[in-house]
């Protein structure tokens, strides 16, 4: 049969618009989402989990924190007792990390030192956080003149080399754990306040904030339900990177004799006291030095990973 025979004669075919019925696409059906729901946080957490380096660093940090709490209890020695007959002994079954120049057990001393270094680092970071969030939040939320004046103030403060100020303060106040933390915080909060300010200024003008305002949302609701939760990302990342910086600063202060004072010890002060002639008793230096390096490395790597996980630019 030829094609022509089968061809339909269109003229004979009387098709009217009424003959057609609109089937349409079922809109509701097409809107069904197959995947499981994930909040923005869970999304970030998943990304973080895939970052092996960051997760390893996190585990290392957790282990170190646990060890600093539990470690000293595992040894029969304490960190204060001098045993002048057993000075400068290398690591052995008796003294797992050896002893120092006053015969104190290095294992216990090292983990106590870690405890103190971590406490100082975390405390300083937390205080920086509180002051920074409040100061930066006010600057960012109100903007305008308030922001201008407050910013001028922190700019001037920032341009004074903060390490020098910290040193001077400690010379005056005489170093102790409390004064060290205070001295470290004196200008440390400025960085955090700028991060918070930046986030606030950016978020303030986003359309979802405007939308809430147009519905009549008050300042409280805007701040606590919209602005702050969306600013949390960079805040946490900054926090994670402030801690190692504080620990490092404390170690540095120890080198000036302004760190934690004997008989207490931080990792930094232990390194400092071990410095002279350390090559004869390397364990006195290597354990605290190794530990402090590990802590700082882990915080930095974890902070980097956290930043990558929270960065919306990487979102597909």
């Amino acid at each position: 049969m030829s094609v022509k025979d089968n061809a339909v004669n269109l003229d004979k075919l009387q098709v009217k618009p009424e003959d057609f019925q609109k089937v349409g696409a079922d809109e509701k059906q097409s809107e069904v989402i197959q995947r499981e729901s994930l909040s923005a946080w869970r999304d970030a957490w998943e990304r973080l989990r895939k970052n092996k380096l960051a997760m390893t660093s996190l585990s290392v940090l957790v282990l170190i924190v646990l060890a600093s709490i539990v470690g000293p209890m595992l040894s029969p020695y304490d960190d204060r007792t001098n045993d002048l007959l057993s000075t400068n002994l290398p690591p052995s079954a008796e003294h797992w990390f050896g002893t120092d120049d006053l015969g104190r057990d290095m294992f216990v001393r090292t983990w106590m030192g870690a405890r103190i270094s971590l406490i100082i680092g975390l405390a300083a970071a937390m205080i920086d956080l509180m002051i920074g969030v409040i100061y930066g939040g006010i600057m960012g939320y109100f903007g305008g003149r308030v922001d201008e004046i407050m910013n001028k103030f922190s700019e001037i403060l920032y341009s004074i080399p903060y390490l020098l100020v910290t040193i001077l303060l400690l010379v005056v106040l005489e170093p102790s754990i409390t004064t060290i933390i205070i001295a470290l915080c004196v200008t440390g909060w400025i960085n955090m306040s700028w991060i918070v300010r930046g986030e606030m200024l950016q978020l303030k003008n986003r359309e979802f904030v405007l939308a809430s305002r147009s519905m009549g949302a008050g300042a409280g609701r805007l701040l606590f339900r919209h602005l702050l939760p969306n600013a949390v990302g960079p805040i946490i990342v900054t926090l994670t990177l402030t801690v190692p910086s504080a620990i490092f600063s404390e170690a540095f202060l120890s080198f000036l004799g302004l760190g934690v004072q004997a008989p207490q010890a931080s990792l930094g002060s232990m390194i400092e006291s071990a410095l002279t002639g350390w090559m004869y008793y390397p364990w006195r230096m290597l354990f605290p030095a190794g530990l402090i390096s590990l802590i700082m490395l882990a915080f930095n790597l974890f902070g980097d990973g956290l930043r990558d996980a929270l960065d919306p630019k990487l979102k597909k």
């Binding site: 809109e27 509701k28 809107e31 069904v32 989402i33 995947r35 729901s37 994930l38 909040s39 923005a40 946080w41 999304d43 986003r206 359309e207 979802f208 405007l210 939308a211 809430s212 305002r213 147009s214 519905m215 009549g216 949302a217 609701r221 919209h226 939760p229 969306n230 979102k315």
Partner: protein, 312 residues
């Protein structure tokens, strides 16, 4: 159905911004118009002509530099904070960017429900849930979308969520600030049709801000043309497109590509005289060169058709 009652009356509205020393950005400069109940007024102009600022100022998201906006006779700028909050139930906005207009950390239920929470419109949890599902249904979305997060939706769907949010408080007037500019062309039609449908069903009044002239014509009863913070022409839709008078309107219209290659090839583009300076003035109030709109008032050239001097 357009009634003869003016729902919105804008008089002498100005919004100026200070940029640097002695420089003022006159984003909105003396707007005067009304919108009747049930009507859609389209507002067109190029980017930067002040239409978005106008929309936000009318909604009192910005405080005006001068002028008044009356909603059913009440000047909203004179309201106390608590009265203003109540007024916000009557006036809502749909935003341009479907990605930035929804809080990424809120679920759809939170986003739509926020309005209900602020104004205590839902008695119990069950009531709230029901209302949210109603709204989702109204805009053509699935009710189990309520527990999901914005990033799981497409642009068109997010825009619908934004519409549902605006409808939650039962507003009478909605400002649509370029609601389709960020969407794919095929989705644009869907959203515009949805808006029209809702207008009929719920008796809404729209101020439709856009720069896509063909789309504006489709949805608006009357159209206003904005240029550098001022209105230069205002007429019924069909009339404006058929008989544009102001050179700027003509320029805008001449830029619309028409789906007819012969017409396109023979089209002549019209350029505005002295069109370099933007709406930034120095302290003395004079702009350099350009078409000076300073004292241009709207003159009624034919019934319902207004044009700014000196082109009237």
């Amino acid at each position: 159905m357009v009634s003869s009652n003016n729902l919105i009356e804008v008089e002498g509205l100005k919004k100026y911004f200070n940029v640097g020393k002695n420089r003022v950005l006159k984003a909105v400069d003396n707007l005067n118009f009304y919108i009747r109940e049930g009507e859609t007024l389209g507002m067109v102009g190029e980017s930067g002509c002040g239409k978005s600022t106008a929309g936000r100022t009318i909604l009192r998201l910005y405080e005006p530099t001068a002028g008044s906006v009356r909603f059913n006779g009440t000047d909203i700028y004179k309201l106390s904070p608590s009265k203003m909050k109540a007024m916000r139930r009557d006036m809502q906005m749909i935003f341009q960017d479907p990605y930035a207009s929804l809080n990424p950390r809120f679920t759809v239920s939170d986003i739509i429900g926020e309005a209900l929470d602020i104004h205590n419109m839902a008695g119990s949890r069950a009531e709230r849930k029901k209302r949210i599902e109603e709204l989702l249904d109204l805009v053509g979305l699935n009710p189990d979308h309520a527990t999901r997060y914005p990033h799981e939706f497409s642009g068109g769907q997010r825009q619908r969520i934004g519409i549902a949010r605006a409808l939650a408080v039962n507003p009478k007037f909605i400002i649509c600030d370029e609601p389709i500019s960020a969407l794919d062309v095929s989705i644009q039609a869907q959203v515009v049709n949805l808006l029209k449908e809702l207008q009929e069903r719920l008796g809404l009044t729209y101020l439709f801000i856009a720069h896509d002239l063909s789309m504006v014509k489709h949805i608006s009863d009357r159209v206003a043309v904005m240029y550098m913070g001022r209105m230069v022409e205002l007429a019924e839709s069909a009339e404006l497109y058929a008989n544009p008078i102001h050179p700027y309107t003509k320029m805008l219209l001449s830029a619309i590509p028409l789906p007819d290659p012969e017409v396109e090839a023979n089209k002549k583009r019209i350029i505005m005289p002295g069109d370099q300076a933007g709406p930034i003035h120095d302290a003395s109030g004079s702009k350099t060169g350009a078409y000076n709109l300073e004292n241009a008032t709207l003159i009624e050239v034919s019934k319902g058709h207004f044009v700014a001097e000196p082109y009237a």
